[in-house]
Symmetry: C2
Subunit: 649 residues, 2 copies
């Protein structure tokens, strides 16, 4: 079956983990639609302790403590958990990704020895206390302080004012016993920037530790099973050895030392080690999108509405062009991101070769997180609407998928800020991405430093080069379905946008050197478009590389058609830009739309195959509208047809 | 103050009703974020009985029963209720709009005499039982039957199979005691199409009546305060006089008579009398959009993130171009729809002059409902994201606004089906919109019947004509901010799209006469675009007319700039089409984007004024992030600044 052949390609390198999660997480793990907040928290708190760790959720931990040194496997496991229940995935992400991951990446052996086993077993539940009420995007500016006192050889951890309290922190409201707390490290009267400490926040009975105030973030739009909360510290004493000191050490006498001289560079290096969180969120959003599409496509394959001359039965929703226009490009894009995500995870798993590679990994993680989470929000909404009133009922899963994933667009980095980070990396050719997490800063600097871009390809370099080279010079001669043309058009758009941004920033810097914010702000929309064009390109290249991995000819042909639809949907959506810049003639632009419609017709019979290839276990889907037996459905349809005969002609 | 001057224009003809609701619905009516389903149902069931009816909620009822014969006023009152609490608005809409409205419009004096007083006082709570599980969009095909028996002079109301049960029915799960039930009327062995009966569904104790099965639709994404449910009938006996018989009567002997001969025409005439529901939903979506924008704009005016050289403080979110790009076009569009909605309500209030006018009213109600509800979904999402993590907390209202309004895109008519209705009305010049609620039917017929379109203007005809006439022939010579150019471009786009659709349908009909579904389906995307272009045009014309009503020069100037932004945002979003069709040169298209950015800069200082003009009472907004006192905010900002000095340079 073609769907199984495609599933094999999608399952990819971590197929064993996907298989394990599918097999081992049975009905007791499945989302319970419509439960109350307290019910959800209770259920998820219970389940997090019974997730079998050998399905990959702890894969990123060192093998000597029970992991398998496989960060790629752990992100894939998290993605699979997201298909079971998004609260469970986020809870797992907090515990094993953010909290446990920070202890691994920022701590040293004594921390690992003392805590990792209990973290993996979930006996020690923890928090990742970075975000503050006042600072979420600009985390270099956190206000919590941790001041070293050589007399007592302890730190004094303190929340100076309300806006400095830790906010939205997962596990803080109920389950967390310790927290990795991010604060400004001050010793000898000097601040060395943000560092992290491992701090107990609850005692054995679950009561707050002295000086620690814990609050509940209260009702949220979704993720009801996650106990997000607030943490404040009133001069809490923290032993010296609880500093997670891989990147910065404080000697008993208070002397600070670090392998990285520059405070800002050190901070971004520390943040960089936590890149897995963003990759996981992108993957989780994609998993939820696949669930929603599976529900909507399968519903559209049984739901009929409106009859017409020449038809014995009412028309299936999936047969309407407008319905195909909603679901099929979203499906194609979902495939495209699946391939891009797989490639990103592979890069994480292999470990970047150098600092340049690390910056590129961070940039792609940021960009794909932004694009996949926005795609999830849009697509789940489309799926909800495609199921009509049924889509609004909790029992049909779509409300939960929508509400749970909504926050993904702003957590683990606000999407707009992340795209800016991507663009800055491109502007500076990844040479100086440090400090690039700030909102706009150093525009003048950037404008002076930028160099001509060199497109960096990761996926299927040679295949892509061959396809691009085969494209004749004049666009008009090439079919709009030519893959080489797609690739070169995506590449050209990115390059042109980037060069334009560089030019505008340089002009700004030349004429209004004293207004760096204005220089940057005037081109902010342009800069964001650079980032999306870049991610579009690497996504298309990943799709092309993915097709190469398909061995079955039918699967290959279907994926190629879907790739056509993805590429042409992107071009169609941005046809204004292509015409403005002489990349498309009006006639060719119209041809793109016509070919998109042709592709919808061609792909229509394969919609079910394409969602079946996501291989989501039936019990995970858990949507009442899919639960009717086919026989019963047919019987209902027959009854319905019979009753039509009563109606007015 | 400019905001008050603008408020006056927005409040418009029903300012007295807006004022009354603002003054009379105090804190006890305000949304309670984060409540459970049962809590919400209990609260709303209680509140619906204490809404003061003299604020306009019963205005549409005849004055002899306690109303004021003012359907316009009742839609405005419902819109205002939506700003207080969307569940309350929907509950009110079910009770006084759908249920009460159907009794008024479809019933005759004996029904009015017997029930209207109790309906107005909410002593008799009722349902509008039209939608069935199997038929929501194509309601002409409802499967419930109601068969007359002259021997007993009663009807037999029956649900023949599961897909024919009434579904998603407001008030059915808990509060409804009667229902207006839509079913196929059969007498003398012939069906006369869908009619409505007034049927008791619960006895005095709240138990189901004999033969009636009531169910609960269960947990929903939002609108938790509304008790949606399911109703099935097992051969329920309904007395002859309970037929709402304004449009069709059954004599004791079973003889059917009607003032309207044609069954289909009769059915759509009956539906047409219920147009108020759609107008109300559009208005409610707009009210929620205004609440969300008020919260996001005011938050963006206090929230700062990221510092930079030359800045003493961090930058306000509203100062970022990307933030303005999110909020300001949405704000401009919200104003545009407010004017279009006011005009639509005025048309409803005046009553259409003839059948043509009635068809046009229905078409505009359908189109503006679709556009306003999609705009609400998109904009509330943008506002949620613009508030970051805070936007995900129930206490900040955005999750509730989002979840509650979500269903508006598919209830009271699925938006896609509604836009198709609009397009068909245009294709047939409103001459034969009967039957146009079907999904696609009679494409051949339509293609043969279409005539050249004549643009029909309602608003400010002479002003618009003057502005359009003043535009010189060649576009290039006109400033992109020229109002006449905007108007002529919107008009030209609609006309060209419509003519293109006609041509394609005609060609299809000529070449594949035996495939009417395919003829239609091939152009479905084109047809939907005709509808949006049409609604865009009437919306712009309404905005232009609205500016004329502003007397204060500052208010007028600000509204004019906002109208520029609305018009150019629409053009920018569709610039691909304009270039494809030679309506914009690439250079001029780029100029549009540049001018949009200039407008954002110009309008930036007025964002607060523009949301203040919505005049939403502070206690209705009810968002924790807005609740801090300005003094306290300033103090927090100062503390925050002070703590910055501790940080690494």
């Amino acid at each position: 079956m073609t769907s199984q052949q495609i599933q094999q390609v999608l399952d990819g390198r971590w197929a064993h983990i996907r298989r394990a999660v599918r097999e081992r997480l049975g009905s007791e793990f499945v989302t319970v639609p419509g439960e109350t907040g307290p019910e959800a928290r209770e259920r998820i708190s219970r389940l997090i302790r019974s997730v079998p760790t050998d399905v990959g959720v702890a894969a990123a931990f060192p093998s000597r403590y029970g992991g398998s040194d496989d960060p790629g496997g752990s992100t894939v496991a998290a993605e699979m958990l997201a298909q079971v229940d998004l609260s469970l995935m986020v809870k797992a992400g907090v515990q094993w990704g953010l909290f446990g991951g920070a202890v691994v990446a920022l701590g040293t052996e004594r921390h690992h020895e003392a805590y990792l086993r209990d973290i993996i077993s979930a006996d020690l539940m923890g928090c990742f206390a970075m975000t503050e009420t006042g600072h979420g995007s600009d985390v270099q500016q956190l206000r919590t302080t941790c001041v070293y006192d050589p007399a007592t050889e302890t730190f004094d951890l303190h929340t100076p004012h309300q806006a400095a309290r830790k906010d939205y922190i997962g596990n803080a409201a109920k389950d967390g016993r310790m927290a990795v707390v991010f604060a400004q490290l001050i010793t000898g009267g000097r601040s060395y920037g943000v560092h992290a400490w491992l701090v107990p926040i609850r005692d054995e009975r679950g009561d707050p530790m002295p000086g620690v105030t814990l609050g509940d973030a209260g009702a949220k739009a979704g993720l009801l099973g996650v106990d997000n909360g607030r943490i404040s510290f009133d001069h809490v004493t923290v032993p010296r050895e609880m500093l997670l000191d891989r990147y910065g050490q404080v000697a008993p006498d208070g002397t600070y030392s670090s392998p990285i001289e520059n405070d800002s560079r050190r901070f971004f290096t520390m943040l960089g080690t936590l890149v897995r969180g963003r990759i996981t969120v992108g993957g989780a959003a994609a998993a939820a999108t696949r669930s929603a599409l599976t529900i909507a496509v399968r519903y559209g394959e049984t739901r009929r509405q409106f009859t017409g001359p020449g038809f014995e039965r009412e028309v299936l929703l999936n047969d309407y062009l407008a319905h195909q226009r909603k679901l099929l490009p979203a499906l194609a894009t979902t495939y495209a991101y699946a391939f891009a995500q797989e490639e990103l995870v592979a890069t994480l798993a292999e470990g970047p070769a150098d600092e340049h590679g690390q910056r590129e990994l961070e940039s792609r993680a940021a960009g794909l997180k932004a694009m996949q989470t926005w795609h999830a929000t849009r697509t789940i909404q489309l799926c909800r609407e495609s199921c009509g009133g049924a889509g609004y009922l909790a029992e049909n899963r779509l409300p939960g998928l929508k509400a749970d994933t909504d926050v993904f667009t702003t957590f683990e980095g606000d999407n707009t800020v992340l795209l800016q980070l991507v663009a800055k990396g491109l502007l500076t050719g990844y040479r100086d991405a440090f400090g690039s997490l700030d909102g706009w800063g150093r525009a003048t600097f950037v404008a002076e430093q930028v160099r001509e871009m060199v497109l960096e390809r990761t996926a299927a370099r040679s295949v892509i080069q061959r396809l691009v080279s085969a494209v004749p010079g004049r666009d008009e001669e090439v079919a709009v379905t030519d893959r080489g043309w797609h690739l070169s058009v995506f590449e050209d758009r990115e390059k042109h946008l980037l060069e334009g941004a560089i030019r505008r920033l340089r002009n700004g810097a030349a004429t209004r050197k004293d207004q760096p914010f204005e220089i940057f702000n005037d081109v902010q929309d342009h800069i964001l478009k650079v980032a999306t064009a870049h991610i579009d390109r690497i996504t298309l290249e990943a799709f092309v590389a993915g097709i190469e991995r398909a061995t079955d000819p039918d699967a290959r042909a279907l994926l190629a058609k879907l790739c056509d639809l993805y590429a042409l949907s992107v071009i169609e959506a941005d046809k204004g830009w292509f015409m403005e810049h002489g990349r498309l003639t009006p006639a060719r632009s119209k041809a793109v739309t016509a070919v998109v419609n042709d592709l919808l017709r061609d792909l229509r019979p394969h919609m079910t195959t394409l969602v079946n290839a996501f291989a989501i276990p039936e019990e995970w889907l858990n949507a009442a509208i899919l639960r009717e037996e086919p026989d019963r459905q047919e019987a209902m349809a027959k009854e319905d047809e019979a009753s039509r005969s009563l109606l007015v002609a």
